[in-house]
Subunit: 478 residues, 2 copies
Amino acid sequence: MADKKMVEAITSMDEDFAQWYTDVVKKAELIDYTSVKGCMAIKPEGYAIWELIQSQLDARFKATGVKNLYLPMFIPESLLQKEKDHVEGFAPEVAWVTYGGGQKLTERMCVRPTSETLFCDYYKGVVHSYRDLPQVCNQWCSVVRWEKETRPFLRSREFLWQEGHTAHATAEEAQERTEQMLNVYADFLENVLAIPVIKGQKTEKEKFAGAVATYTIETLMHDGKALQAGTSHNFGDGFAKAFEIQYTDKDNTLKHVHQTSWGMTTRLIGAIIMVHGDNSGLKLPPRVAPTQVVIIPIQQKKEGVLDKAYEIEKTLKAAGVRVRTDDVDKTPGWKFSEQEMRGIPMRIEIGPKDIEAGKCIICRRDNGEKIEVALTDLEAKVPEILETIQKDMFEAAKAHRDEHTYVATTMEEFEKCFTEKSGFVKSMWCEDQACEDAIKEKLAVTSRCMPYEQENLSDKCVCCGKPAKKMVYWGKAY
Amino acid sequence: MADKKMVEAITSMDEDFAQWYTDVVKKAELIDYTSVKGCMAIKPEGYAIWELIQSQLDARFKATGVKNLYLPMFIPESLLQKEKDHVEGFAPEVAWVTYGGGQKLTERMCVRPTSETLFCDYYKGVVHSYRDLPQVCNQWCSVVRWEKETRPFLRSREFLWQEGHTAHATAEEAQERTEQMLNVYADFLENVLAIPVIKGQKTEKEKFAGAVATYTIETLMHDGKALQAGTSHNFGDGFAKAFEIQYTDKDNTLKHVHQTSWGMTTRLIGAIIMVHGDNSGLKLPPRVAPTQVVIIPIQQKKEGVLDKAYEIEKTLKAAGVRVRTDDVDKTPGWKFSEQEMRGIPMRIEIGPKDIEAGKCIICRRDNGEKIEVALTDLEAKVPEILETIQKDMFEAAKAHRDEHTYVATTMEEFEKCFTEKSGFVKSMWCEDQACEDAIKEKLAVTSRCMPYEQENLSDKCVCCGKPAKKMVYWGKAY
């Protein structure tokens, strides 16, 4: 039972990070395993985080003119096959429906692994004139990719995501939208999830199946591994040509549209856990914490204690804080430990002596700091401290990322970075895929991105020594 | 293109109601057909209605303690087969996944047609003690049922819905939750969708596969056909026994839980169309109208007209109204017709003369009434008139429903109701399924429900003449 397990120790993250992660995910009650192999149940505590991600991201989308819609979850095989690179990228990992309503289907259909083909089919029907452009649509849904090895939130056969798909009159407009959405993602991660990102472009080797260019936000987890947190693709007119999506321009000529797509998934919850968590459990940034403050009464059976706790709860609720009182019949120590495991950003301790003195103790989950606050100041102080926690969590994550970002100008240095340390490695590259392949082969790391913020670390490619063209971030990735 | 088609006439609803419905759905741009047989694309204008339904219903759920979660979309065949009645009800209409990741699956899985079995599997894992109860969870997702004939929103192979599933310690508590959620549904339909409902219980014949009792809210469409708008099921402990969901009670004995489930779907959008719509198109109740007010400038090229329109837009937005200005280069007449087709509850007409006189014209979509309003009163008047529209739409729908509800005490009267008229028919029933079967066979109508509000219309069953036990609503159903 959750009740009993909550205060048991979890594996230390320094000892076994993967086991620590699994422990947190289970003991903070974010996820449960199911009888459906490779698929997870997202429990109410985990789903509430997703709802906060969804509502805040959706508002940011809508502010840029995005409209939501819903397309079918099935893709007929012939539709999937229309764009060559795309089908090659996805066909090996789809699930096929072959029977429906007791009968064998004349054409099998896969459950969408992503919906480029469906959006193309849709846009072909609604786009005719330049007046119908741009089309800027998004869909919140689940997708299926038949992964062999799965991990909660990070890799599962079914996951939740949003996929934006747009169609534009010109290549410039498509490129602008691609970068605009990457910026929305970066801003969301830094300001809502308190996770610092590296914005950049994927190499040819790592780009999305069917894209002209893929842009990414890359994040660093506490164990030094990289996690791709969101991608934005410019498709040029490749899909438009394969699906014949044309419009009549002002000059009365027929032109192909230019398209983009961009997506983020429930793996963001995995990123929150692995960027912010510690050996006491989960640590949620206030903006995505379903409960931001828990009030823990001390000696709650003494007269007036629970009443005061409820009074504080009422005051904070009215101030817009997501707060609850933990009034179950357990010791305060047990409740502290539960608050820490669940990652609730702040607890308020209030007992008979505090009430007498007209004060209480605020304890921050992020750094353990205890702050004495007069009861009359709570309404103003709590939102203020939550804001501070939000900012400090970002700064702490950024400091960790920066401390674990290394420079390599030779292959020896490069190798050392991944044997003696772990993190991001910045190095120069000649843009030849042979070098990218060689590095991946030798060190089992992948190019994460060519960052927007280029630096000139050396004139030579770290691998072949030929003239360097790009600085690249490398890492071992989830 | 939508632009051109918008103002073309639609089929008259009196002439061909089905064609009228299809015309509205297409011309108000709610839905598009797709290359995926039997599956619809819900376009942005349609999906925005669903978002308003979702957010308002979700808030009502949460106010009663419901928590959202997410379970897998696949059900392994062995799991589906655990409850006998349930599998018989759903197996014939599911879609089967037989291949994944290039390999034939050892056990095929269906795409969920509903998730009772998955919730049971989940609750079996999380419920151990009376302290773990009640479990009151809900999921927003899409489900698949392999329908042969499909109609936009009303019947499609994939549709969006919410499915709530609960587990309780006692039978009484389960019954209470079953009725509580039916009441939430009824209140939502009447107060948000402006659709009057009949609350009642389904007969044994019509109840859900695996349920002990099914409760329903039944609505009447403009053509006199009935639509089941939402159902709430009490499962007793049948599923709990099949899935072995047990808890240790306070007295230390093992007991089975008692369960419920309840759901509403995107067919609600179909109900909105068919209850409120008219020969000019869609008619949206203000509370689910993505755009509540459209401002239509008259002689918009004259100086100051557009500026005044934008100023009004800004004022109304600040007052919390969902408003936009239609400033495209078309005639006011064309714009009026578009506003009517799209069902926008109110338009504001503002031209140079109005501005001079410091007033404007408000035109209500529901009854065509024109109201002159001083510009300085707009901020107060518009929300007030929207509220009036909301209430009047409910009253109009209720009057229509009541006018089309008939009483039959003999089979002759019964038959006349469905040959000469169409609507709900109330009649007495002996509770013998043979009579229910006979009526269905003879008149092609089904029992809609045994309403909570029973009336004593006669002592005899309308079919066999034996002593009557229940009053039943009958109708031809969508």
